[in-house]
């Protein structure tokens, strides 16, 4: 299971640094696309009322600058953004324009529970209860079957979760799709499936989960969103008569959770090809219904039988990670679409094969030292890459540092790494093919102390980080390493305490022996023996 193929778009392979994974994936991939085209990219911070930090970025081409927040650019008006942020208002706009939405009503904090219950009595069950301004499915209760069930949920959502404004609407069965649109063009659709495994008749549930997690780790969108084998999963399995060691039949899909959230182990699946023209039109009309909303995502329940659907929500800055990195289906490059839309003049520009180190770029902003950082543009032109493996006496002779100097001098990017077998791996990439190929002779030369025996070369077609890194496994401490070190430290402290206790115990014992009667009484004898020894 060590080598898993990267199943998404090749220009993203290895090109998403940790800071760009997970929640900042939209920001990073859009900025990366712009940067790779030679556009001027700047990251900056803004602070909200709570003084919490938000990372924003601007992309400029000559004198034209656009500002972005996640996947949303400044062509989307503040008004449109505000409408989308309020679910009830969105619904009003949509239904006015004839876009199908679920029936229902919003209740603000002035409405008491009875009012809501009375309204619900007029509705067909099942119903859905959700907050007007909730995010990422928080506080949403779907498929409520009865008034009694509703009665239980209202105080929880309003009291415990603290959402005052809520919506009660019809529950519409069907698949929930997330569809992204730019003006008249539908970009693609995805569907979220709850965490699940697909049996093969050979592996146990536990092994299958581990395999899925291996793939999720490879997925920049899901790196830290693995399937946890927690109580919920175990209960769910038990309900189906399984446990961790059961072996599901070949082709059997076993669901592990109810929720389809990606953070709970859910999968994004590209379903663009399943959309019919009617469904597409509903998604496109939703945008037209809200003035100033030029690109967006909609959450839609698609009723395949009747070839229609209802819009649940419109999102002015949808996350695009699921579309770029689906677990099933074709990846869709929405980052490219967004940049094409804002900077159509760069549509056919060569996209550099380099990427930037988002971690160090973001660090000064995140720790509030920097207000803004402006990226160094990548060199113009196509990037050629080579991989060299150098054998001989090449480790612990300053080989990598020397190679780094040479590479930077020649405008090459890449990295050098000591391999366990005593060789050094060097990856270089640059715009001048000849320089990249000639670098082999540089590898051969090496610093004075090195004795190079052989240089093996092969092509390198994956993206390369700008600059030149010396990869030091031992020294690069990630937060994870720090955590581990901290744990190690704690362990040591505990051990120390244990030993101290042990010491005390022994000391006491020793004391006891020395003060014991028999010890005292035998003193003359001992004295005699000592004298005898002399």
């Amino acid at each position: 299971m060590d080598e898993i193929d990267f199943k998404w778009m090749p220009h993203h392979e290895g090109a998403v640094p940790p800071a760009g994974q997970g929640k900042r994936i939209s920001t990073y991939t859009v900025a990366l696309e712009a940067w790779r085209r030679g556009l001027n990219v700047q990251f900056y911070s803004v602070f909200d009322d709570e003084n919490s930090l938000k990372v924003r970025y601007s992309i400029g081409n000559e004198n034209r600058v656009h500002h972005f927040s996640l996947s949303m650019g400044d062509k989307v008006t503040q008004e449109a953004f505000d409408v989308c942020a309020n679910k009830e208002l969105t619904k009003q706009y949509l239904s006015k324009a004839g876009v199908p939405v679920p029936e229902g009503r919003m209740f603000n904090e002035n409405s008491d529970e009875e009012e809501i219950i009375n309204f619900a009595k007029t509705m067909r069950f099942p119903v859905v209860l959700k907050p007007t301004d909730g995010n990422a499915g928080k506080g949403v209760f779907a498929n409520i079957q009865s008034i009694d069930e509703l009665r239980g949920i209202i105080p929880y959502v309003r009291g415990v979760l603290g959402f005052k404004e809520i919506i009660v609407e019809n529950y519409i069965p069907g698949d929930e799709f997330r569809i992204c649109v730019i003006e008249d063009r539908l970009l693609g659709a995805m569907n979220r499936r709850p965490a699940s495994i697909l049996g093969d008749g050979k592996h146990s549930v536990k092994q299958l989960i581990d395999q899925i997690n291996q793939i999720r780790k490879m997925n920049p969108h899901l790196t830290s969103r693995l399937i946890k084998k927690d109580r919920e999963v175990i209960t769910m399995l038990e309900r189906k008569g399984y446990n961790m060691n059961s072996i599901p039949a070949d082709g059997e899909r076993v669901f592990l959770r109810e929720k389809s959230n990606l953070s709970a182990g859910g999968d994004a699946i590209d379903v663009t090809d399943e959309l019919t023209q009617n469904v597409k039109n509903i998604a496109i009309n939703a945008g037209k219904a809200i003035p100033g909303l030029f690109h967006y995502g909609v959450d839609m329940i698609v009723d395949k039988e009747n070839d229609t659907g209802v819009i649940l929500e419109v999102n002015a800055r949808p996350g695009i990670g699921g579309h770029l990195f689906p677990m099933e289906g074709k990846p869709r490059d929405f980052a490219k679409e967004i940049i094409d839309y804002y900077f159509p003049e760069t549509k056919n520009d060569v996209r550099s094969w380099l990427f930037f180190d988002f971690d160090t770029v973001l660090e000064p902003i995140k720790n509030r030292s920097a207000a803004s950082v402006q990226l160094t543009p990548p060199p113009n032109g196509n990037i050629h890459g080579k991989k060299y493996i150098i054998s001989g006496k090449v480790q612990v002779v300053g080989y990598r540092a020397w190679i780094k100097r040479q590479a930077l001098l020649m405008n090459l990017h890449g990295y050098a790494e000591n391999l366990d077998d005593g060789t050094v791996l060097v990856v270089v990439a640059g715009t001048d093919k000849e320089v990249v190929e000639d670098f082999k002779s540089i590898c051969f030369k090496g610093p004075e102390k090195a004795v190079v025996e052989n240089v093996e070369q092969s092509d390198w077609n994956k993206p390369v980080k700008i600059g030149f890194d010396i990869i030091q496994k031992d020294y690069k401490l990630t937060p994870f390493d720090l955590q581990r070190a901290e744990k190690e430290k704690e362990r040591i402290v505990q051990e120390k305490e244990k030993i101290e206790r042990e010491k005390d115990r022994l000391n006491k014992k020793y004391q006891r022996v020395t003060t014991s009667k028999s010890w005292k009484y035998t003193y003359p004898l001992r004295r005699m023996i000592e004298l005898l020894k002399k």
Partner: protein, 600 residues
């Protein structure tokens, strides 16, 4: 003097690590001073043919921008720069102003060397040979004492170091001073003592150099400027009749180099207050002699006997840290006048007690990813109230630290939280409003459910505070060091336990042995007692026997008496027989018998 520890200017404490920022120290000091006054600071990289990462910065206030390279700002005119870059030209300008400079001449070393030798001979050896334009004492040979030495040096300068033009100057004996002038006024003077070590009677020269380098590590200005053992150092040691393994006597001071540059291991000692006013005047005159020189580092040699001063050269990118972090003497805040010069309108602004994370700001520039970083300005002008406290408690520490950070940020509090032991967290908090800090403290006391605070201990804090609110972790090195120390402690304890254990075992064994000995003794005593009884019994027997024997003896005595009596009676009877007639009558018969026996 052997100790690299520095006296810190209060406002700089905490703002930078003791190991400093190497050659970027001047940049940091000036940028920080400006930033603290509300001047906008931008760091950026510039393109260059060698693709080196060259970081520059700009300071901007109310529309006015100044650019800097290290300590050199754009008020320095092109003319002044040119004059100071060319050491010969510098001397011309100074001489014209009536200041003493060393006699010397410039030469092109790519052509004939004969002329140079001739000139040097005319100056008298030793002479100084140095490149025409170079910084930080690079390529300077200050003690060339013979023709051969000169030729060698010239070859070296030409072929190895690759210089074309050089200066040959007379050697000026005396003490070298570095004087910093800003806008024509002296702000600091240090005596740079060439790289040296002082013997202690036990360490070798090598060890002394290592120790000295180790002590320099804790001075931000010189932590990376170690004494390297190169040809020059080895030569100096040889000249003194030593080698690296020699052990100099206690108190013996060895000078390892002729040149005093801090970058080659020299010690800067502040002497601003002792600087004679005459020299101060000369320095100020010299600074004014160079048109357009906003700030300069003057190298002056003063003859200790005559008091005469000679100006060697003027540096337009002087090392600021020399004056801020001298190895001895008073630290001087020479940064303030520099920023005052560039932004006089901010002169009276109260300086913020915040600082920014220089390392994080420069990291993306260093790895090429970023071209420019704009430093986040301190949100409020002037000093913030600051406080330090320790929070004791237990529970989910990670969650607690995150919670404290978010709460601090929400209330505009800057500072950090750091775990300092298993149940104690250190918090530094700064805010414009002291009340806000107090409220924050009580919020920390109540905290989230996952953590139970038992006590908050107030401590004093008047050092600087970082911008933003950090969950501070030990740096890699600190962590490593701590783990190493803990491990050592554990090992020590383990050894102790082991020692105690074996001691205990030994005692236990002794006790056992003694017990066994005691048992044995008892046994022996028992045996002895038995033996005694046996003997007693025997004695009794013997006594009995004795009595018996005495009785027997008595009997014997009686028998003897009886026998004596009997024998008396028998002798009487015998006399009677002899005197009887029958015996007399038978005498001839007996005589015959005996004669017959005699013949036989």
């Amino acid at each position: 003097m052997e100790n690299g520890n520095v006296t810190w200017l209060t406002h700089l404490e905490e703002t930078l690590p003791p190991e400093g920022y190497g050659n970027r120290l001047s940049m940091f000091l000036i940028a920080l001073e400006a930033w603290r006054r509300g001047i906008k600071v931008n760091f950026f990289t510039i393109d260059n043919p060698d693709n080196k990462i060259l970081v520059r910065y700009s300071l901007e206030y109310e529309g006015k921008i100044h650019r800097f390279e290290s300590s050199r700002g754009d008020k320095l005119t092109a003319e002044a720069y040119e004059i100071c870059e060319n050491k010969h030209m510098t001397k011309e300008y100074l001489a014209k102003a009536g200041l003493k400079v060393p006699n010397g001449k410039r030469f092109d070393i790519t052509i004939e060397h004969n002329e140079i030798v001739e000139y040097a001979t005319s100056l008298d050896f030793p002479v100084v040979v140095k490149p025409l334009s170079e910084n930080a004492g690079k390529g300077v040979f200050s003690n060339v004492d013979s023709n051969e030495n000169l030729l060698e040096t010239l070859e070296y300068l030409k072929n190895v170091l690759g210089y074309d033009e050089i200066l040959v100057e007379e050697y000026i004996p005396g003490t070298e001073y570095r004087i910093l002038t800003i806008n024509g006024k002296v702000y600091g003077a240090v005596n740079r003592i060439p790289a040296n070590v002082t013997g202690n009677g036990t360490d070798t020269i090598q060890q002394l150099i290592d120790k000295k380098n180790e002590s320099r590590r804790l001075n931000p200005n010189i932590s990376k400027k170690k004494i390297k053992i190169d040809v020059e150092v080895l030569n100096s040691i040889n000249r003194m009749g030593y080698n690296l393994d020699s052990i100099p006597a206690e108190g013996e001071r060895l000078f390892l180099r002729a040149k005093s540059n801090v970058s080659s291991g020299g010690d800067p000692v502040d002497i601003t207050d002792e600087l004679p006013s005459a020299i101060r005047e000369i320095a100020e005159k010299a600074a004014k002699a160079i048109p357009g020189l906003d700030m300069g580092g003057l190298d002056i040699i003063i003859n200790p006997e005559s008091g005469e001063s000679t100006i060697i050269e003027i540096n337009t990118k002087p090392m600021i840290g020399l004056h801020v972090f001298p190895i001895k003497g008073k630290p001087r805040d020479v940064v303030k006048p520099i920023v005052d010069l560039y932004f006089p309108e901010t002169k009276n602004k109260e300086r913020s007690n915040l600082y920014f994370d220089f390392e994080a700001v420069l990291a993306p520039l260093d790895n090429i990813s970023v071209k420019q970083v704009e430093v986040n300005p301190p949100q409020v002008e002037g000093r913030l109230h600051s406080s330090k406290f320790h929070i004791y408690g237990d529970g989910n520490g990670v969650a607690y630290r995150n919670w404290v950070r978010l709460t601090a940020l929400k209330h505009g509090i800057q500072g950090h939280i750091q775990k300092i032991s298993s149940n104690c967290y250190e918090v530094i908090a700064a805010s414009i409003d002291a009340e806000v800090i107090n409220n924050f403290k009580s919020m920390c006391y109540n905290g989230p459910e996952a953590f139970n605070v038992t006590e908050i201990e107030d401590l004093h804090w008047n050092k600087s505070v970082n911008i933003g609110f950090k969950i501070k972790r030990e740096t890699e090195e600190e962590l490593r060091l701590r783990i190493k120390k803990e491990k050592e402690k554990i090992q020590h304890l383990e050894e102790k336990v082991f020692a105690l254990q074996s001691q205990y075992k030994k005692k236990l064994q002794t006790v056992k042995d003694l017990r066994a000995g005691k048992r044995e003794l008892k046994e022996t005593i028992k045996k002895l007692v038995e033996e005694k009884q046996e003997l007693k019994r025997e004695l009794k027997k013997k006594k009995q026997e004795n009595i018996n024997a005495e009785a027997h003896l008595k009997k014997m005595d009686q028998k003897i008496k009886q026998l004596e009596q009997e024998s008396g009676e028998l002798s009487k009877k015998y006399k009677n027989v002899i005197n009887s007639r029958s015996w007399k009558l038978t005498r001839p018969l007996r005589k015959l018998n005996s004669a017959r026996d005699g013949k036989k």
